[in-house]
Symmetry: C2
Subunit: 604 residues, 2 copies
């Protein structure tokens, strides 16, 4: 099976057993790999209504057909599960070296089920899988745990996915750390914790076969050329990583700040932008075979936060732990990022939770005996992150995510809990961007910018500013295209240079499947619909495709779009158009039978 | 040259060049390796009177003939230099995997001279040596630096010696961290820092030839048998590492506490003894081919110091950061040990400095605006360690070591600066142990217990309690024997089981040299005399072979030896005896010409 190892490892933690299963070619063809294949497997492997932290939930870890081939910038894999944060289908995607190591170890993916009686870690070495005791590293930082696992298995270049104390404590905003990277979103770390699975280590030397190596080589040449010739893959990404978005988004006037209270063009952003970031960068780092080299390692070498270093911080982290909390010190952000990684907390959700707590505190809804939770108080970041990771003090409430925290706090706190479907929002204020608002409302894992990112189309492209015109089509199209990209293993940053058709050709050249001529977008649509079914079967309907009130009631206070807010009426009309394009029922938001049949999903 | 690679790498940092030089067989035979050979090389490579932090000082890194052979428990190597702490010859010995990796990389040792114009690290891979830029990791923790160096050289199983911010800042009590172990004593880390040498990474696959492999195999069998059959290598070391000394030393009534003010049987020791240590142990760790497995990794998984872990703490560290500061919390000690390692500070000297500061503070000699420096205040450990590492606040004074700190503080502070020749004392109170007092006073690097350890002989053996009788002979004999052991690469813990003659046979079987029939002790004596010459040429005389006043003026306050103190008169008489046995001039303490000739050291 070209492009695939053809095997999935099923690990039952309750029984303490694992076995290899064949990956079905039909399934691979229909859902490609990664995000798509994992969503499909979760839909068949789990029933609706289960408790995300129960043994019935599963973790689906999946690589893609491009993983481990010569195709550049294809490091992505997915961890998919029912999220303890959003209580619906969720997933997190991670770059780095783990995905190719997993394939080299002999598997396209892993299905983890049940719950271990005591802490374990999974060690997969060239086909052989072992569950090893992890009680000794349970409670340790993700960094220390990785070192100890490597020492124990005696393979220093193993790739390791691991949770920290936050995941162990089933904190709903817990991340999984993979090497120096984070799989942050949807609380996947808590599901690891609920299964008493501390880590997964992988290593191997198996190779992936490719259907048409000559064709692939030719395509790869074109891809590399495109990456090297086009912006931002030739300039901004290599120089600043994702941090150039601080300057760009602020310049475009859609940069959120202080829990979205002072969004637009944020006055403190120059202290935490890509220029200041460069002052802290000490080294570049790249995913396998990626000519972009967008990853940066930054450090703090003096002052109260020294010495520390972290891979990152990414744009989203700078915003969440910085602007969203009114914090304008890069050293504090780097230290907070590192602490989130060490303890295994998602930086976006953690930053949002702190910003939310600050607003609650300033508005008198939240008491804090030991910490003065005012915007700009960088001193509270580290203590609050620790409290959240351990579920102590007010951290216990905040670590449940802002939706749940608002319910617990009451008194109208839900009005400034900035989330969609329970997932804390990322760093683009949608009040001047109806399309981005729609993208958030309909993203397949809740408040997420990565399923459809419409910023340049809406602000720089030919779309009419502030209007909802064409947004339904724009958002659904991008969602479908990105679903295919995410399932191929390709990084979306590289896709800012690589034409989509070239990616499709690459996947076709690697596999035995023909995705050309519009097939790929159709596959993307199929994936998006499988994800939608995962939502609707849990009771998500049109009523769940909503945005925080603030975007409709409070106008942007600063910047070029000052005064803009979304209109509830237009938003609902835009949704009508979106459901119509999608072939989803206007009332329920569920895919219609006709659509399901069209996509070959009748039985789902 | 059996037992040796036969090559030393000379690295001139000023010129940015390195070259291999032949190791002279005659020198190897006369000084064996490790500590002995390095001392000899320092004596010929450097002139007296140089500033330890100047380019004229050198770092001599040396392995031993047993390193990398099948002989068990032979991980030791030495880093030798003129110490910025004691201002005389100093060295630190380190276990782990670095020594065998250096030999496998193609060198018995490294001589580092000059000073680099900008931060560098040395990368030695299978004979090839490179100086690489280290500006990006300058300022980072020792742990982060090791990770970054491994990523950069692309060899995850390289062994790395590295300094932290303390060494970079030339702090006189700075250590060198090697993997997870510390080369703590004598401020060797500051010499790395003065040369702008951040790290040394080594990796290779060369093998060491052995003169008589059959004979060695036979000896190794006997050694392993002895280690497995005898106490404490068969029981206490494997179970508790060195921490069983807390209970033992306390039971024996010679456990120091609170800067030696409440020594004897310390009332809080049960909270920091080997039983409590076991509560924190998460994993065993061993040096290459060592059946003892004395190294333990401990962790803190709850409370204010969680999460953290460290390889250790060793007995000396538990004492220095614990009892010596009146601290009885294991979590605080583990966290303080980890911070010392991350920042690159010697735990023994750092703990002594804090204990000293506490006494000064309690006696009103030292002001501290932000920290209440009272004995037992565990909260001050981490802030003070950070202040010492960065030379900030009162940390700036303390990090110079207690001798210099006392001079700066004045008002009689020197009366409770617990050091010999500027090196802070270890964890045995000598007031009931005249022999241990003599060992401290004449140890070849200042206040050190490892050159001659007389505890069991004096307290359990046939020696007359509290008397100086036979101590001169005892101490000088152990010093000579240990000089040979330390130069062979063998660990002194294993030597509690292995008969000395068996070690001598092993070194003879590995090399082309015959050390049998008393030759080895003579070699040890030669080494001890070369070390003495390194001292005397810097002005050290009989007057320098002294102990802190406290041991003569204040009696042991608790325990079975309560009321004991040393007598100045007896002590000086014991020294007379010692110099006589050594063949050292009674007035100057210098080796006589006759002695030098006898040892073949006429030209030194």
């Amino acid at each position: 099976m070209n492009g695939y190892i053809g095997k999935i490892l099923r690990v039952n933690l309750t029984l303490g057993k694992s076995q290899a299963e064949a990956l079905k070619p039909k399934l691979a063809e229909q859902f490609v790999g990664g995000r798509g294949l994992a969503a499909k497997l979760l839909s068949t492997e789990t029933a609706p209504g289960i408790d995300p932290l129960s043994p019935e939930n599963k973790l689906i870890i999946m690589t893609s057909p491009l993983t481990g081939t010569i195709t550049p910038s294809t490091p992505k894999f997915v961890i998919t599960t029912k999220s303890p944060l959003t209580k619906i289908y969720g997933f997190t995607m991670i770059s780095g070296f783990f995905a190719q190591a997993l394939k080299a170890a002999g598997y396209d993916g892993i299905i983890i089920e049940g719950v271990a009686a005591e802490p374990k870690y999974l060690w997969i070495n060239n086909g052989k899988a072992e569950l090893k005791k992890a009680g000794h590293i349970w409670g340790l930082t993700t960094a220390d745990s990785q070192t100890l696992v490597k020492d124990e298995i005696g393979v220093q270049d193993a790739e390791i996915a691991v949770i920290g104390p936050a995941g162990e404590g089933r904190v709903p905003i817990a991340s999984v750390i993979v090497g120096k990277r984070a799989g942050g979103r949807c609380g996947v770390g808590a599901v690891f914790g609920s299964k008493r699975l501390k880590a997964i280590a992988v290593h191997g030397s198996k190779e992936v076969t490719v259907n048409n190596p000559d064709k692939l080589r030719e395509i790869v040449g074109e891809m590399i050329k495109a990456i090297r010739e086009k912006s931002p893959t030739k300039d901004n990404y290599p120089k600043y990583g994702t941090t150039f978005f601080v300057g760009t988004t602020n310049h475009l006037g859609v940069f959120p700040a202080c829990n979205f209270q002072c969004s637009g063009t944020y006055d403190k952003s120059s202290k935490i932008d890509e220029m200041r970031f460069r002052d802290h960068v000490i080294r570049d780092s790249a995913c396998p075979r990626c000519p972009i080299v967008c990853e940066k390692i930054s450090a703090v070498k003096e002052g109260p936060y020294a010495p520390t270093s972290v891979q990152g911080p990414q744009y989203e982290t700078i915003w969440a732990l910085g602007a969203q909390c009114g914090v304008d010190r890069f050293d504090a952000i780097i230290a907070a990022n590192r602490l989130c990684n060490d303890l295994g907390l998602d930086t976006i959700s953690a930053g949002n939770a702190i910003g939310f707590a600050m607003e609650c505190y300033e508005k008198g809804l939240l008491q804090s005996p030991d910490l003065e939770l005012r915007f700009g108080q960088h001193e509270v970041l580290l203590p609050l992150i620790k409290q959240m990771a351990y579920g102590e003090g007010i951290g216990k409430i905040l670590a449940d995510g802002v939706r749940s925290a608002a319910e617990q706090i009451g008194h109208g706190a839900e009005n400034f809990a900035m989330h969609v479907k329970g997932l804390e929002l990322p760093a683009y204020d949608p009040r001047a961007l109806p399309g981005m608002g729609l993208a958030y409302a309909t993203a397949s894992r809740g408040g997420c910018h990565l399923r459809a990112w419409t910023i340049t189309d809406e602000l720089i492209g030919s779309y009419k500013l502030y209007s909802t015109e064409g947004r339904a089509e724009l958002v659904s199209r991008i969602q479908n295209v990105r679903a295919f990209i995410d399932s191929s293993g390709m990084c979306i940053f590289a896709m800012r240079a690589i034409p989509f058709d070239l990616l499709v050709e690459a996947v076709s050249a690697v596999t035995d499947f023909d995705y050309k001529g519009g097939n790929a977008v159709k596959v993307g649509e199929r994936i998006y619909n499988v994800e939608r079914i995962l939502h609707t079967r849990e009771g998500i309907s049109r009523k769940g495709d909503v945005l925080p009130k603030r975007f409709f009631e409070e106008a942007l206070p600063t910047g070029p779009h000052k005064g803009q807010k979304l209109s509830q009426n237009s938003f609902e009309k835009m949704k009508d158009g979106y459901y119509a394009i999608r072939g989803w029922d206007l009332a329920t938001g569920s895919p219609t039978d006709i659509k399901l049949k069209e996509l070959g999903l009748e039985t789902d």
